[in-house]
């Protein structure tokens, strides 16, 4: 029903999206560092209604094979059973495996792994509420958790999604926009200082003509997200000092 309404919105040109945002606006973002005691690093990210808990364990001994050159990164992503409006089963979720692999690649290149040979770093992500842009929220949460754990990282990795609806690029897609038929979504995870893109994942088929605009929207979103992440980190350090 919702998706139908969204599509029809083509006939009414309004400057606002279905949730009242303007096309370039990111949802309200809350970040917390150090939310768990047992883990080496942890964080909580709430992006609109999407909520992610991240923990980092390590660097510690590997359980299996070790790499003499660098630390092994192990990322596990999971959507909780209650994360969406209908209860979901945990088993055999290929999408989760895919996201886990993507995250592993992102942080394998962002963390200075060569400093910790023969070790392993575990990053666990639990999406307790899913309302769109889960992957982007996870990158941000993991990035904060790694910083909380004090693991050296090249930069604050930040991510944001963007899509293309009604012939205009929109930043930070929510679940309704995601589910509307055929919305292309592009998620970019980047090292902001060097403007290096670590992850670029798209679904739904973006037309080449629009790719530039959508990418720009995602990168602009990354900047907004980064601003808040940096402030969170600074606040957290301030609290630790006090």
């Amino acid at each position: 029903m919702e998706s139908r309404i969204l599509l029809e919105s083509t006939s009414v040109k309004t400057p606002f999206r279905i949730d009242g945002r303007k096309p370039h606006e990111v949802r309200s973002l809350t970040c917390r560092l150090g939310v768990f005691q047992q883990a080496d690093g942890s964080s909580y990210v709430k992006l609109g209604n999407t909520q992610v808990l991240a923990t980092v364990y390590g660097p510690h001994d590997t359980r299996g094979k070790s790499n003499p050159e660098k630390s092994i990164i192990n990322c596990k992503f999971r959507l909780s059973t209650f994360s969406k409006s209908t209860r979901r089963n945990l088993h055999r979720d290929i999408r989760s495996i895919e996201i886990s692999n993507n995250l592993t690649q992102v942080f394998d290149s962002a963390i200075l792994t060569e400093l910790y040979p023969h070790s392993q770093i575990d990053i666990y992500l639990e999406v307790v509420q899913s309302d769109g842009s889960d992957y982007a929220a996870c990158i941000n949460a993991a990035s904060l958790a790694i910083i909380d754990a004090g693991i050296p990282i090249k930069d604050v990795v930040c991510a944001c999604s963007a899509g293309f609806i009604d012939n205009q690029p929109i930043t930070d897609i929510n679940a309704v926009e995601e589910s509307s038929n055929g919305t292309p979504i592009l998620t970019i995870g980047m090292l902001p200082k060097d403007k290096q893109i670590l992850s670029m994942e798209s679904s739904g088929g973006i037309h080449l003509d629009n790719l530039n605009d959508v990418m720009d929207a995602a990168i602009e979103g990354c900047k907004s997200v980064l601003f808040i992440m940096k402030q969170t980190i600074l606040n957290h350090i301030q609290e630790l000092k006090d």
């Binding site: 005691q37 047992q38 059973t81 209860r87 666990y124």
Partner: protein, 277 residues
């Protein structure tokens, strides 16, 4: 951490302290650590609660569905339990790790809720349709096992307290149910009879509640009880490998009721303050 190894000296120090009713963190034997409770954390659930006590955190989320009742129990709803330990708690629980622990927990919940009066208010059309509540318990941080069970039960009770079901009406014209158009036409559950769990742990010659991981490591065994709001013991189970002498257990019962009532009151107060906000 799940596994904690203590030296004999450490254990001895700990046990001697408990004999004097003085625990390593300064509590007496029947004191509980501070509990933080938060409701309505997960908007997509019909009810949810997050509970934390030092290094243990648990989220409970409730989902609803309409099912037909069991033939033998036409007027009773259903409650399903699922428990899962997030890898966030420890890399050990990655994948399906921790399953034996959650199976035990789920079994105990199922047994304790089997005859709960809560099931009576879940009837929609007697004999035809009832609510089935699916309660997911997600363990985010695991402290001592013995205190985890207590916290899980608090999380479940608080989540049920928070639960709002849409009012459903039976329309005889279409022989089917209809949902109220008014988003405020909701039903709150009567959770007064919902039991909570109290675990008592034998350390040395004494019983304590809410042990720390160190205390648990030096304990003999634990006893798990589910208790309703009148102080009645509904169900019990022994946890751990050691053996317990039967006599002191009988003496424990009144104390357990007392502790349980305190907890019931605590949840009521907390949840009320949340609803009134």
């Amino acid at each position: 951490m799940a596994e904690l190894k203590l030296s004999e000296g450490e254990k001895c120090y700990l046990i001697n302290g408990i004999n004097d009713n003085f625990r390593i963190d300064g509590r007496s034997c029947w004191d509980r650590r501070e509990i933080e409770l938060e409701n309505n954390l997960l908007p997509s659930c019909v009810g949810s609660a997050l509970i934390r006590s030092v290094n243990c955190s648990v989220i409970a989320g409730v989902k609803m569905s309409l099912v037909s009742p069991d033939s033998g129990r036409p007027g009773k709803g259903k409650i399903e339990f699922f428990a899962d330990i997030s890898a966030n708690a420890d890399p050990l629980f990655e994948g399906r790790g921790g399953q034996e622990m959650t199976v035990e927990l789920v079994r105990f919940f199922e047994d304790s809720f089997k005859d709960c009066s809560l099931l009576d208010c879940l009837t929609v059309v007697e004999g035809k349709q009832v609510w089935c509540l699916s309660i997911d318990i997600l363990i985010l941080e695991i402290g001592a096992r013995a205190s985890l069970y207590d916290l899980c039960s608090i999380a479940v009770k608080a989540a049920l307290y928070d639960t709002r079901l849409p009012k459903v009406y039976f329309n005889p014209d279409i022989m089917d149910i209809e949902i109220s158009e008014d988003p405020f036409d909701l039903m709150q559950l009567d959770v007064s009879k919902v039991p909570i769990f109290v675990t008592v742990t034998r350390i040395g010659n004494n019983y304590t509640i809410d042990p720390t991981q160190e205390e648990e490591a030096s304990s003999i065994a634990s006893l798990l009880f589910s208790v309703d709001n009148c102080g009645t013991l509904l169900h019990s189970k022994k946890l751990g490998h050691g053996s317990l002498h039967c006599y002191p257990i009988k003496e424990l019962i009144p104390k357990i009721s007392e502790v349980a009532l305190e907890l019931h009151n605590f949840i009521d107060d907390q949840c009320k303050s949340f609803t009134s906000r």
